[in-house]
Symmetry: C2
Subunit: 500 residues, 2 copies
């Protein structure tokens, strides 16, 4: 007997919250990333690819709703120097590190785009994964709101480029400074001591960001005495009085029919707050710049209810929302919601260098966007498999390979069946599973006569469902052609279905 001790078999499972992507799921994402990248590139943004791994200290702690140290990220300790490393949770923190590390070499302003997976160590749920793709564009080193406006316009352009028609999305813009102005009016921001009430403001921010989830009443509880959820868990509130809550809620519902009217209403709400007035001015400038370029309120609008959960935003914040309804997993209609967010984060690079480096940017959640387009049936319709060359005669494998090579040289995707060729039915079943449009068949008798059979599998499948026995017997889906005409005849057959 073998001397090895039997080890239990490993489980063939992706870790919880991770998944695999097959075939067109991969290529559709690639295409979307390439389309967005081209929009970014056309705006002068240059590619950057950082590695998936950063030091924990460089990443910082900016994820919302995360209380434990290192929570929210996948982290581990280096064996030699004890440093903590982690997988990036977004693309902004690594950019801030790069902007600081290469500040003497990069052009300023530095416009960059990047795409790739990010990781969140969160509880996975249905449709919620711990690895997902982001495609970001940021401008580092520009303090003007023209940079924010550019990002908003580019986001709108990118969404339309990937196939979201105008009217099916909305880029909503707000400004943290306006919110700070409102906080000042409500008495939870003291301009002479910005660190006072910091915790309360953080709680208010997170409360507002949950408006969609908990509604006005829930938000008021979170801003005030705290909220008890269905499971009996209690979330501590910010301790605001009902009057203070009124002021904040007034801000949330300040949206009017036009951008100008909304700005006017906001100006009333921020009253004498300098920071608040500055925020309103910025919103007006952004609206004006976008207006000149023809981005009307059917594409981009000022909306005071946009907050964004991340802690590092300092000025304009934006969010792209899909406005159409989809059916959720339980068949209920719901708004698809946010697919992109961003804003200005003037202090992130400063963390490293101590010097002011203003920055603004946006992140498109590509996996969510793909899910939306699939839910609407806009992508994922047809998938084309390769031509399959069947194996009638094992000894003539070289000749079959040659046929495949000829087809490929003519730009036709082709493969030889490499399973056990004994059962010919299995070969056709295989071709079917591969969504193959055409099968090539050549036995030794056909080889002797210098011919082969081409089987139109699309027509064949149709006939199998519809044809009478007579029709079926005449085998209209199969033609005998000269071996020399393999490429030309296959091409003719593929042309029936306008195959790419």
């Amino acid at each position: 007997m073998a001397k090895q001790k039997k080890q239990p078999r490993p489980k063939a499972e992706a870790p919880k919250g991770f998944r695999d992507y097959f075939g067109s799921e991969v290529t559709e994402r690639q295409e979307m990333l390439a389309t967005i990248a081209e929009v970014y590139r056309s705006h002068g943004f240059d590619p950057l690819e950082t590695s998936a791994v950063e030091t924990v200290e460089a990443l910082g702690k900016f994820l919302p709703d995360v209380d434990r140290p290192n929570a929210g990220v996948f982290a581990w300790q280096e064996e030699d120097d004890g440093k903590w490393l982690a997988l990036r949770y977004d693309m902004t923190a690594p950019l801030a590190r790069v902007a600081a590390q290469f500040r003497n070499d990069l052009p300023s302003p530095y416009r960059r785009y990047t795409m790739g997976p990010v990781w969140r160590n969160e509880k996975p749920g249905p449709g919620r994964f711990r690895q997902f793709y982001q495609c970001d564009a940021d401008t580092v080193g520009s303090g003007t709101v023209a940079a924010d406006a550019e990002i908003c316009g580019m986001l709108s352009t990118a969404l339309e480029a990937v196939g979201i028609p105008r009217g099916d999305y909305l880029v909503r813009v707000n400004n943290r400074k306006v919110l700070n102005g409102v906080m000042e009016v409500a008495g939870v921001l003291d301009p002479s001591d910005p660190t006072r009430f910091e915790e309360e403001r953080g709680t208010v921010l997170r409360a507002i960001d949950k408006f969609d989830k908990f509604g006005e009443e829930g938000v008021r509880l979170l801003m005030g005495p705290g909220r008890l959820d269905e499971s009996g868990d209690f979330t501590k509130g910010a301790g605001l009085t009902p009057e203070q809550c009124d002021i904040v809620m007034g801000f949330m519902s300040a949206k009017r029919a036009t951008g100008t009217a909304t700005a006017a209403r906001l100006r009333e709400l921020v009253g004498g707050s300098l920071i608040g007035a500055e925020g309103v001015n910025e919103l007006e400038q952004i609206a004006e710049l976008l207006d000149i370029q023809g981005f009307g309120s059917d594409r981009i609008e000022i909306d005071p209810s946009v907050v964004r959960g991340l802690g590092y935003y300092t000025g304009p914040v934006f969010e792209a929302e899909l406005t159409f309804e989809i059916l959720d997993e339980k068949g209920r209609k719901r708004q698809f919601g946010s697919v992109s967010g961003g804003g200005r984060y003037d202090d992130l690079v400063k963390r490293f260098t101590g010097q002011e480096v203003p920055a603004t940017g946006v992140s498109i959640g590509v996996d969510r966007l793909l899910a939306a387009l699939r839910a609407k049936g806009r992508i994922g319709a047809s998938h084309q498999g390769p031509v399959v060359i069947t194996v009638m005669d094992r000894d003539r494998m070289g000749e079959y390979q040659l046929m495949a090579a000829e087809l490929r040289a003519a730009g036709i995707r082709a493969e030889v069946y490499l399973g056990n060729p004994k059962n010919f039915g299995n070969q056709l079943k295989y071709a079917d599973k591969r969504e193959s449009p055409v099968a090539v068949i050549q036995g030794s008798d056909e080889a002797d006569r210098g011919v082969l059979q081409l089987k139109d599998l699309v027509l064949g499948a149709k006939l199998a469902q519809e044809a009478s026995l007579e029709e079926w017997k005449s085998q209209p889906a199969q033609v005998e052609v000269s071996r020399a005409d393999l490429v030309a005849e296959t091409r003719k057959m593929l042309a029936r279905y306008e195959v790419k």
Copy 2:
């Protein structure tokens, strides 16, 4: 004063062994991946993307030269269930997991390609990083050597597709079964008890794989009594006698002028070993299949010195080597070496299911391949920046943005300068750093007259070096054009340099 305690600033550094990729480094890699993917796809391979994270048990321990548990990988423990997760160290282990997990849904044979980063927790060195890209193709569920031959031919095609001309590379093929036959002859393999001498064979395998590094003498020491390196570290040997070593070394140098002659020589060496004879047969079949398709020994050859370090190979193994010399960091000429490797691994899926699932595949080390092409000056020559619209008048930002939008709509990459516009020289320096071909200049006087200035920055830079003062003063690199002709005139200027 602020109540917060001052935290030390984080270091703006990528973790040791990780790096950032900028601009054309990113796009060149993207292009190479797309080119290789297209070759794989044309052969009927379908894309698969698994996540970066796997359970440690699913990954298994197959990295060479790794003695500690979990060494070689970046791993961490899940908080809730205590499971160990890790970043994938290659693409083969995740594929084996997928093939087992989805065995009832995938076509069989399953041809798949995949591309992306892998991570190795190794000591970083010059040019050696802990994250790098691989682009793999594998066929799962086919035991025929036609699958191995297909992979070898496809590898050759892919290398030529990315710009390695015939003659500058060689795909070398060997077979682990032949090596096992030689081991049997040498007395370190007992067919009736395959687990006997397992450790010795592992040591011999690793020794052979280091032939390039240590030469014959070093390999003989590692197979025999052990080897003391320059630093005084001792590596334990396999304990073979000089006679046994002779047999193995004979195998290493069995290569002859033609594949047929090499196979004949190998057949002598494996003597009566059944497994060895099977290996030689397989090599002959692979050579024959490739020969029919025109892959001569100038592209693919049988070479008994190829071993591959990974422990999981069971049959044919292959390696692609670049045969040209490059200068290393110290200016010394050296062979570039291996850029791709693979082989048959019939037992990897069985780890999960207990059922035999033969498989074979190849991995192209895309980052090494890019380094080789850069070292040869074949890529990375020219990089084209965007047209830069300078800002003469802050109040007319919207109009500048409109110019950029017009250029983009015409397919011309363009951006507005978003730094502080006060110093115009800085704007031109910025355009220079961006490798911008054309700058657009419009002050308020020009705006009033309905014109703008186009500055040819390529010609400008040339003149700055060569022109006389008179020539310079006439400003031939700058033209005044009508605002309405912005796109047409810019296009004309770009056409001078055949800008993409």
